[in-house]
């Protein structure tokens, strides 16, 4: 008996949603629900999906989805997801992370995920502010950002996470915007189906502490017909906006996608049974005499 396609609404866990009204995270949740339901109908069973989140507003998304999940700690989605993928290559592992989460506390893991080209996806809820801790600057806040920890304005310039990913070896790099749910769905689906480390930066507006809707609505545009396999083209598009200026066009879309050897491919699925294991241990002990 075929139970028929999943209705995206059926993916709700029933947990009460505690995001602020108007939060950009709702778009990410909606887009992900639609994509997971669609993929289930296309041969990626929902039970083979594992969601991993860090800590921050973004992370609550795993509570809201009735899907396998590992609600990890701040900055630590990637090592968890990497091991789950190595443990069972049949699983599709999707990380949800914040800009504080992945670019500050857990930056080392992000770089290494790209370096390894591990076959997992990371969705960056990039609201460019710490929300749950009530408004401090993050690695993607523009310089001069007045937050609770930087009342005179942040001194540091922001990081461009896409440029970092490009130079670190990520094989799928894209940017979406929480006001463009159709594009988000397309990017999420591509990223999940991509074989290798896929990174989607989502300009996700925090209505309470860093409301950039007006600026994003004015400056974002969709990049089309770009050569995704060209490192140089990707670099040019990615460098055209550096997260510091609010008077330049902000490109959206997939900027880079290539095939490359993956870390998860380096592990064999061979596993000896108990007897074989024991006889091998005996052989090792004999060799140590």
């Amino acid at each position: 008996m075929n139970p028929g396609p999943i209705n995206p609404k059926d993916l709700a866990s029933g947990a009460a949603n505690t995001w602020c009204p108007g939060c950009g995270n709702f778009s990410i949740l909606g887009a992900m629900r639609a994509v997971l339901a669609e993929l289930d109908g296309e041969g990626l069973p929902l039970e083979n999906v594992v969601l991993v989140s860090g800590i921050g507003c973004h992370a609550k998304i795993v509570d809201y989805l009735n899907v396998n999940s590992f609600y990890s700690i701040h900055g630590r989605t990637i090592p968890v997801a990497t091991a789950i993928k190595i443990a069972n290559p049949d699983l599709k592992v999707i990380c949800f992370s914040g800009d504080g989460d992945s670019l500050a506390e857990g930056l080392e893991h992000l770089i290494f995920a790209a370096k390894r080209n591990i076959d997992i996806t990371l969705i960056l809820h990039d609201n460019r502010v710490y929300g749950l801790t009530t408004g401090q600057y993050t690695p993607t806040s523009p310089s001069g950002f007045r937050g609770r920890s930087t009342p005179a304005g942040a001194v540091e310039p922001p990081l461009n996470p896409l440029e970092l990913m490009l130079s670190s070896g990520a094989t799928y790099i894209a940017r979406g915007y929480s006001h463009g749910i159709e594009q988000l769905q397309r990017l999420f689906k591509e990223a999940i189906l991509h074989k290798g480390f896929s990174f989607v930066d989502v300009l996700q507006v925090c209505v309470s502490y860093h409301n950039l809707y007006e600026s994003y609505n004015q400056w974002t545009y969709a990049v089309e017909d770009n050569d995704r396999s060209s490192f140089e083209q990707a670099q040019k598009i990615i460098r055209s906006w550096n997260y510091n200026r609010s008077d330049l066009p902000i490109p959206l879309g997939c900027f880079y996608q290539i095939d490359a050897p993956r870390f998860d491919q380096s592990f064999s699925s061979y596993r000896p049974g108990r007897r074989e294991r024991e006889s091998k241990i005996e052989a090792i002990l004999e060799n140590f005499i």
């Binding site: 069973p45 999940s69 609600y71 699983l91 596993r271």
Partner: protein
Amino acid sequence: MNDFSTLIGGIAGDGINEAGLTASRLLSRLGCSIYMYYDYPSLIRGGHNFSLIRACRRKVAAHTDAVDVLIALNQETVEKHQHRLKERSFVIYDADKVRLEGLAGRGCGLAVSSILKEAGAPAIMKNSCILGGYCKAVGIGWPVLEETLRKHMQKKLELNLLVARQGFEQTEGFCQIEDLISTGSGSGSGTGSSEASLPPRPLLTGNQAIALGLIRAGLGAYVAYPMTPSSSVLDFMARYAEDFGLKVVHPESEIAVMLMALGFSYAGVKSAVGTSGGGFCLMTEGLSLAGMAELPVVLVMAQRAGPSTGLPTYTAQGDLHFVLHAGQGEFPRLVVAPGDAEEAYIWAGRALNLAWKYQIPAIILSDKTLSESLYSFDGGLAGEVKEESLMLWDGNGTYKRYLQTESGLSPLAFPPQKGQAIKTDSYMHDPQGITSEDPALTEEMSEKRRRKGESLAREMEEYETVKVYGQISSKTALLFWGSNKGVCVEAAERLGLRAVQVLAIWPFPEKRLLEALQGVDRLLAVECNSTGQLADMARCCGIKVDDRILKYDGRPFSREDLLFRLGGAGI
């Protein structure tokens, strides 16, 4: 105990550890139990390294200061160690490099460099050459050396055999080791009664024994960032990864190590990590996550002298309280401290089984002495460890990862499970694994974790978590843990004392310890730290520790060290 001690010294890069291993194999073939302590500074080339090999017809797990034979590959070895020579000890040395002033008639010089040059052999083969000389000098027959080299020499075997043969032929005999170890004229105070020769046993470091115990109990993944003295577990796992289908990962930091291990656990793969104190610091946030999310994981924590970088290649027992209390919040854990290779093997396996049964972190607390010393491994004495089956979800109804039960243990399930969501959570959570900040639920889940700890403590009462050795009726007892086992048991046997080992440290085996100490009126704690960390724990359950024999110079107690200190305490 009739025994025979050999010291091989040279510079880092000379292959002193390997030479010590070969000497250990030779002596093991003569029917001896072996213990080898390896001393090296934290550098790659130069500096002074030495291996101290003790051979005995009874189980031995401590080194002696005095040696019967000193093998000197450089002048520094003679200068640093000649005080160890006894009246009848002698020196075998590289005559091209070493001058034996003031030790006339005590040595046998071998023109090692000339022999190598003549044979066209590289410098590293000086070990084979001088070990050839060693065999001749102490009366180990050529066939024993040849067999050992043939079995273990991976590269350029024939050339090694050639220089070893030269060394053998150009040396004269000094003693007959077989007579020394079986008649009691060696360094021990034997009675002269002869002891039977032992079957040659595998020679394992504590780390190798831990690795084999974990593998035996079903380890599926090992994750580690290199850190002395735990790195050789990683080396071993990586070397045998293919044989056992192990997923071995060396990631970017110990933070990633611990989180990866938990990812493996979530997916149903039994995982372990290894580190020393500094790396363990980075693992503590993941340790607490394991406590909250109820994810099983085994940590091999090989202590070295701290604080901070401390003495990277030297030993200490300074992190007992750290591992007991690391991680925010309250959650159950297992801490075991094996004292030799057999205990390392069996308790590593048990730690993995118990971690999975109780869904908790389990810590195997080692130190540089246990981790890197070499022991004759008696599999029969160790006992066997089997992979225990898991309490799996029966597949009925909706899966609840944190289902409340009387024991506190919830059935396990791993993705994928058709129609189910397997949710694990670092936040306070409901039975399904969904975040909740409800006060009643918070209380219930705290109690669930506490009940798991109580269930574990009940099971631990069934194991021999406290062991008694020596003169059981003695009213004077030594209290110790971890790698001090060998030296404490030996001292107790010699002095007629009771020796009490705390083998599983948490849950603290209070009942068994009180039983083991019944009738004791003087208790001396022996520890390699500056405060007496186990002694403090004993005091918490009303046990009076009269003396604390502490050593905190980075070096393990030798037999002489401990006897001297006990003498100073009037024992």
